[in-house]
Assembly symmetry: C2
Homo-oligomer: 442 residues x 2
């Protein structure tokens, strides 16, 4: 990405999963005369597939179930009571919906944190949809034994499986739900799992919520009687759990010492501006982090706090929100934001050797955007339109791992209508269970 550029009248050659050539169509036509399968991207712009570094894919089942509420009421009275009725099958169904929405919006890799169950799970859903992803199992102090079994099974069954589409993560939920000892134990577990199932090329990463709200130090103190005086990230560093394979979601309420620790440990950030605004968490100091050379990628968060899985929306919001709140119109220019949604996302997931840019040797994860639309006209700058004017629905064709997973907006891997029906049924069954449970408890 040192030499990032826009190639006009360009073409990409792909063999099996891999990009083997990139250049002018004229030149590539001369080099590859014999019959290849061709995708005509005329009038379109080809970009590296977008990388969403913070999701809870199964929670699409709760999209729009509860909005405009204070955080604790939202969680305790609305989200958690339904979530406890979700079966493994429901989690699979919800993740399938997110996989479909992601692909249809040009997202080719999703980092998701949820409850892992061996029979049906988010990994299976992503693999069935042909979506690349890092599947994490979320860990809490109150279920250590269960977590250990889940992590072992998840990593063994899925890490670097499904043709290399799936990686896995060890995901401590947050510093206020995972006690200091368990936090350290999870780092050890990750190390061990890496030795058994990972490699330097395909590491098992950690994915955690950090500093989402300003009262997080207080929540940690109340939960574990420790005092993160210099900030939550600095506290995690004092536990020795930070390293270059940690993706920290949100990072809204950071101290200077937090940022120093992040820079030193090469911690990666997933910035989730839409979720942070909707849940009223605040605004992450992204310009400061970028100024310190910290890697910042982008995420949507779950579809019940966003309520979409749309990385185009996240790009636009990222590009405008920091200008607006800092009253500085040159912050976060379009080029930088597009990088955050692609190559920085790949770096955040320790996957930049294979994805995040259109380069020879990388996997063919590509989205073709149809620019023959009134709202993408006239055309002065492709990058400006991608960030400020394009929508998820402008994505026409998507390749992941060299395979066409969507062509002219039709998914090749799944029946979208059937999934929609299944999701509606799942919703009704969840609401019924909730009703029965409520009438029992009365």
């Amino acid at each position: 990405m040192q030499n990032r550029k826009v190639i006009h009248q360009g073409a990409i050659a792909i063999e099996d999963k891999t990009i083997t050539d990139v250049g002018k169509t004229r030149e590539l036509k001369r080099k590859y005369r014999t019959c290849y399968e061709k995708i005509d991207a005329k009038g379109g712009v080809v970009i590296p597939g977008l990388i969403n570094t913070h999701q809870h894919a199964a929670m699409s089942l709760l999209r729009g179930y509860a909005d405009d509420l204070p955080l604790q009421e939202w969680l305790e009275k609305w989200i958690w009571p339904v979530e406890k009725h979700m079966t493994a099958q429901d989690i699979y169904t919800g993740a399938l919906l997110t996989a479909i929405e992601s692909i249809m919006g040009g997202t080719t890799t999703v980092n998701t944190m949820y409850h892992y169950t061996p029979e049906k799970n988010e990994a299976k859903a992503f693999a069935d949809a042909g979506l690349r992803g890092v599947i994490g199992h979320v860990c809490f102090s109150w279920r250590k034994k269960e977590d250990m079994r889940a992590l072992e099974d998840l990593t063994k069954s899925w890490h670097n499986k499904a043709d290399g589409l799936i990686h896995t993560g060890v995901d401590p939920h947050s510093p206020y739900t995972v006690d200091p000892e368990y936090m350290q134990e999870l780092k050890e577990v990750r190390k061990e799992l890496n030795q058994k199932y990972g490699s330097e090329e395909t590491p098992i990463i950690a994915h955690i919520h950090v500093a989402e709200t300003v009262d997080e130090p207080e929540k940690i103190r109340r939960a574990f009687n420790v005092q993160p005086e210099n900030g939550v990230m600095e506290y995690l560093d004092s536990l020795g759990v930070l390293d270059q394979h940690v993706v920290a979601a949100h990072c809204v309420a950071l101290t200077d010492k937090d940022m120093t620790a992040m820079k030193r440990r090469l911690v990666k950030v997933s910035h989730n501006p839409i979720s942070n605004l909707k849940l009223a968490s605040g605004i992450s100091p992204v310009p400061e982090m970028l100024g310190k050379g910290i890697t910042v990628s982008l995420g949507t968060d779950s579809p019940c706090s966003n309520n979409a899985a749309d990385m185009f929306e996240v790009m636009k919001t990222t590009a405008i929100i920091h200008k607006g709140v800092n009253k500085n119109p040159v912050l976060l220019p379009a080029e930088e934001v597009l990088e955050m949604a692609t190559i920085r996302g790949a770096e955040a997931l320790s996957w930049e050797n294979e994805i995040g840019s259109i380069e020879v040797g990388k996997k063919a994860d590509l989205a073709i955007i149809n620019f023959r639309k009134p709202h993408l006209c006239p055309l002065y700058s492709e990058v400006s339109h991608l960030v400020y004017a394009a929508n998820a629905s402008d994505v026409e064709t998507v390749l992941i791992n060299g395979k066409i997973v969507m062509e002219n907006r039709r998914l090749t891997t799944l029946n979208v209508e059937k999934t929609i029906e299944k999701v509606e049924k799942t919703k009704n069954s969840l609401l019924n269970k909730l009703k029965q449970n409520n009438s029992k408890s009365q």
Copy 2:
């Protein structure tokens, strides 16, 4: 809107331009047995067409031409040098593009401020597209005579014309480009034009930029040697130019006294959050204005400071930004934001007797949104999805003034492909003129 509600399995009866009945499909089927033309909205949600209360429609020609720049550099080095080469035909073409984009995104009324020329203009473009709009001529101190001719011709030729689709406006550009005397004169002109061409039912409105940036009082002082000590709106009130037919765009930097004056004079606000963030103007105190009972509507601003004409985006941004910056998740709930984009917009344009809600006797300005999409699934609340999850491209069919202007995403009034080609040609011609001009001046 006192009794706003969602009708499931509902139907709407329309005769000519007007809504004649609203109710359950079952009941309407019984009442209207004889053959009507039917539009099947199954799986869809019908909403009042969205109302965009601040646009400069012709400026779509400059979408993405210059971004991520300081405001003055952006205006002086980029926007103004191109704008001076725009012909009347170019203005028509640009407005046509905005009309298409608006309709395709479910917007049925647009309030636009630009330079009026008799031969070709934004009014003609809107009428040709079948889009409802308030067409204003923008007035500056430096061209009073020209303005007077333009205002007279615009109002005479277009006010309440094109089957009632078009209203007109007297648009002082801003308090820092229109001197105090001219500001008062323009109020008189509006009164006179109203007597000649308007009526109580169809008033000619005023549309002005106010308090877009924090340095506006200083700009006024430098331009006209007057000191708006208590705020810009209070200054306008001291000139006696505020009334219930004034739409003030932006209203970012307001004092308490400003808001008191706005409430007293029933001034209407057009909130433009995306433009305000992108240009780094800041964040309008919308919750405070709503708390004081001021009418706040929504606008996109021009496609060169947004860079879209997408009211769905504006709704979502409005719903989340005030929660985020005020750290209060209950502010601006979805229901309120949907009202701002519909009935409040109608009120802002003094047009609420005819548009802004689905009510018997109002004009049939309707958008049908296709909800059979993965990102609008599952369905718990229609209003939540409309604000937080739906996109412009989910709009399937649009009626304006009882006429189908888009059906299954195909415009019935215009050839979209030809307009796109025309816009690209216009862009090239503008860039050529700019180049020639630059080489001359060297």
